[in-house]
Symmetry: C2
Subunit: 130 residues, 2 copies
DNA sequence: TATAGACTCTATAGTTACTATAGGGTCAAG
DNA sequence: CTTGACCCTATAGTAACTATAGAGTCTATA
């Protein structure tokens, strides 16, 4: 199939597919006589793999690592485990940050609804200035 | 004070200060004879305001809006409230996404530790391929 | 005065992961 | 043949920084 079809089937934009190819995440596909990219089922699976990883916020560089490991079935999977562990750690960190952020924003909202309704008297502005 | 001092006092890098000035978040400062930027207490406060907003993940374009409103004390603060409400909504959304992501990563970790220890037999890889 | 090191300047490019656009080629149907 | 959909590469843009290059300023010291 051509790139437009792959895009539709995978839900990944044409430009992103080309980007992934350029970044080395996807193999160079065969080409038609007109130089159109030609993809098979295997290519679709690789793209789905990459997309799945992206949905986990795994950076492209790490996805590359995973793809390389995929080609070494006998290799120990400890590095995969480490990668996921690290990713989980970062996600936890980010959740924590966002919860703190959320708390502050909620306090601000409360500050606004309890005071007057001009910028000068706005509890949000006062809070942002502190 | 000069930019290096402002950077130290505010915890904001020199380059970021210049970036904020270029993006219109900070006013053009006075200059010395040698063309060095000169900042007063007011400028420091404005920078702290911007930094505080950034710590809330508020995008620069919205911060600009807030700064403009800051100069209109009589104006209604409803737009400020809307801005914070919207920001809160996005933060909640992101928290939700990250929690879903966390769950999947945790399942993966479990899958790995319960199976063998090669890439081929790795529950994480299996999961990423699905 | 000269020098050296710290500081400052502007311009430009790079980071990450896309996303859009320009200008041109391919292909199939009418 | 024409037209419109699809495809190609190259380049630039997005957001928010961050780094680097090359040159100027300033101050303390010899």
């Amino acid at each position: 199939m051509k790139i437009g079809q792959l895009s539709k089937v995978s839900g990944c934009s044409i430009q992103t597919i080309r980007y992934y190819e350029k970044e080395g995440l996807l193999k160079l596909p065969n080409r038609s006589e007109g130089n159109f990219r030609l993809y098979d089922e295997k290519a679709l699976q690789e793209l789905e793999f990459v997309k799945h990883c992206r949905s986990l916020d795994i950076p492209l560089s790490d996805i590359k690592t995973l793809l390389e490991l995929k080609n070494k079935p006998e290799e120990s999977c400890s590095s995969i485990n480490n990668l996921i562990t690290n990713q989980l750690k970062m996600v936890n960190k980010r959740i924590k940050e966002l919860n703190a952020l959320k708390s502050e924003l909620q306090l601000m909202k409360k500050a606004c609804s309890l005071t007057g309704n001009t910028v000068e008297a706005c509890g949000i502005m006062t809070s942002l200035n502190s």
